[in-house]
Symmetry: C2
């Protein structure tokens, strides 16, 4: 009889490489007799509560290998947080019941800060309940805001996408600026941390080159200062490229995207920091503007994923299996940057209890004094993360992404109502 | 002494492959003794009026070769239309004076419908003035709306970008829809013709697969019908992906993006059809939505250019030189689709007088009966145009795009004031 089964779940916003982590988990588990099957929650942790467990042993070796280059969450993800077990143990009890019924001894939770917190609580709860489950957190977030890991899988590929988009759109605007658009605003993700916006600075090839201004959530937004800077840049270089975090905010904490403007019916106007900024520039400076909001395109852009990011995403999945087999629990896998001039990285781990509820913002020393740019130290941190192009295979002009069978395990328990 | 010099200019909105056409012109001109130098207008036709002629003979062979994979307009483009010579011959006379002063015998104009019209007028005017210039139009437009050519260089790469963006974002939404976003709206270019939006349908892998609804400028937009369809799709498949042309319009010709809504200060609210549609869906259906506006990113996305598009863009530039050497004038180069099951194409030409002021919209037979999809005939037309991936070289994680020296020829004429 083989070892205990694994329950793996994807959590929160998906990325271009979270399936590469799943691929790492499944391929590593298949290669050892110490692990039974890998079950995956349909739509993340919800699948554990509803006992909808996807049996990955039904998938071919080829299809599992294709996960490595397939973006999004191949098993479904969810935005759902378990209620705290201290007050409402019902969901935790259900989780354990499902784990017991399917001989699950390892829980791998692939997500951001909230998920690491949940994994930590499951570890404690299961110990207390006398059915200790080995809980390992697998980091994932395009926001790059998890502590203790040098970077978060998913971030490097968004960073690469944003840097390339800035480079390409910058050339476009430069070539038209004499008679047309003078200002281009690109809105990128990052509600609380400016890592993604910062990555656009990798496209900069000198002082005159885009991006000219970057807006970070970490730096208070001041309309007057901003439009003055735009005017200066346009005067100096003929055009201006702005990259704005969706989380850019005023001194009082209001998001720029959530302005107080109302439509004719009195409804609050729909968000989007880019159109708001363009409105300001047109009102204050009367310059012709264009804007783009890349939204999901940026985090789904597997077609231009960073090779380093893909390798790291795979490695953290693989490492979760290794830690579990070694009898570890209560850890999150981390990526460690080695010392030295050439970029080298390895895998480490940190106690889940330390990770929970700590958010890593951009350090001020990575943001230039003006507040609109990235320092050399920031660029040195970012540059290695976008190295290499891990192209997916193509068929008929389009990337070939896998659709799994996602066959469910037979249920053994009564229904459970998720509230 | 070598043959007459060429004046080449880029016109209007730039694309991922217009520089590939420039590359075709310059490399072909360099390979024949029948052509002198290739001068390029700085910022398009404006450069001819201001006598700012870029001397491409100063660029290295390597840099010219790199134009093939560099997006945007490497010499600057412009949105500027010459005034009709019948009423105001001043600009045409200046053009001829500059051409004479620099021994220019060939004029290659690389642009859309307006540019072809201008090229035609220059041909006639120069004949009438006793200094006949051989005028050849080189097609370019992401809108794909030029007549007589099977497709327009620039379109295939945008089509590929939009199809991939739809495929990737579609997977993202599908994996999150159980607990998060139910509707995703992607706004794409196409003010008057729905070709670009139509290309998203290439990502469709079956009836349940995105895109579920496409909005074309050719089909009248009806809010009630639209939100009803969205509701139906969400009910059936759990989520809905909409791809909308920026040119989607109501029965009375108003653009959906130009709604009558005002901000708190009475200013007309800034465009963007995607946020407008999302507003409608949230008001009528109360569903969680996300939206993206790819704007310049789509037409600058050389990193994922279509190989067929790049080859055709190069070929139409090369062909302009061939036609000029053969003594032709008053023609636009065209791309011809050969008969047969396998896609094959060749180069042809058409009289500029026929091209001028004709706009090619999507034929109704390419749009499905519901008005929200693309027919098999439409897909058969589109599919060959996105084949092959023509990746640029990378350095340090980013595409290596060329910046030319763009050295100007010494001026020989008095200043001219552009009005």
């Amino acid at each position: 009889m083989s070892g205990p089964n694994v329950f793996y779940a994807q959590s929160g916003g998906v990325t271009a490489v979270i399936n590469a982590s799943a691929c790492g988990v499944i391929e590593a588990a298949r290669s050892t007799s110490k692990i039974g099957k890998v079950f995956v929650g349909k739509n993340g942790i919800l699948g554990a509560l509803t006992e909808e467990l996807i049996d990955t042993s039904k998938e071919s070796k080829r299809d599992i290998a294709m996960l490595r280059h397939t973006p999004s969450g191949a098993f479904g993800s969810c935005r759902f947080k378990l209620k705290p077990p201290e007050n409402e143990p019902r969901e935790y009890e259900r989780l354990l019941a499902v784990f017991k019924a399917h001989r699950i001894g390892h829980f791998f939770y692939n997500g951001g800060g909230d998920s690491q917190d949940t994994a930590n609580k499951v570890a404690a709860f299961s110990r207390g309940a006398g059915y200790p489950v080995q809980c390992i957190g697998i980091p994932k977030t395009v926001d790059n805001d998890l502590p203790f890991t040098d970077t978060c899988p998913g971030f490097g590929s968004v960073a690469k996408y944003v840097a390339i988009a800035t480079e390409e759109a910058g050339l476009d605007v430069a070539s038209m600026a004499a008679t047309s658009t003078k200002v281009f605003v690109l809105e990128v993700m990052g509600r609380h941390a400016g890592w993604i916006a910062a990555a656009s600075a990798l496209a900069k090839q000198g002082i005159a080159s885009p991006p000219h201004l970057i807006l970070f959530p970490e730096i208070i937004f001041d309309r007057e200062r901003f439009t003055e800077e735009v005017a200066k840049v346009v005067k100096r270089y003929g055009y201006c490229v702005v990259v704005a975090s969706e989380g850019a905010q005023y001194a009082d904490g209001r998001f720029v995207a959530e302005s107080s403007r109302k439509d004719a019916f009195g409804h609050a106007q729909l968000g989007g920091v880019a159109p708001k900024l363009v409105d300001m520039i047109q009102q204050d400076l009367g310059l012709k503007c264009h804007w783009a909001v890349s939204d999901y395109l940026q985090r789904a852009a597997r077609h231009i994923a960073s090779e380093v990011d893909v390798q790291q995403a795979y490695a953290v999945g693989e490492a979760a299996v290794r830690l579990a087999v070694a009898g570890k629990s209560g850890l999150m896998v981390t990526i460690e940057r080695k010392n030295g001039n050439r970029y080298r990285w390895g895998i480490g781990s940190v106690a889940l209890s330390k990770v929970a509820n700590v958010e890593r913002k951009m350090p001020r020393r990575f943001i230039s004094r003006s507040g609109f740019g990235v320092t050399p130290a920031g660029l040195d941190y970012l540059r290695p993360l976008i190295q290499g192009e891990d192209y997916p295979p193509y068929h008929n002009g389009l990337p070939q992404y896998v659709r799994l069978k996602n066959q469910l395990v037979k249920k053994r328990l009564p229904k459970f109502r998720v509230e």
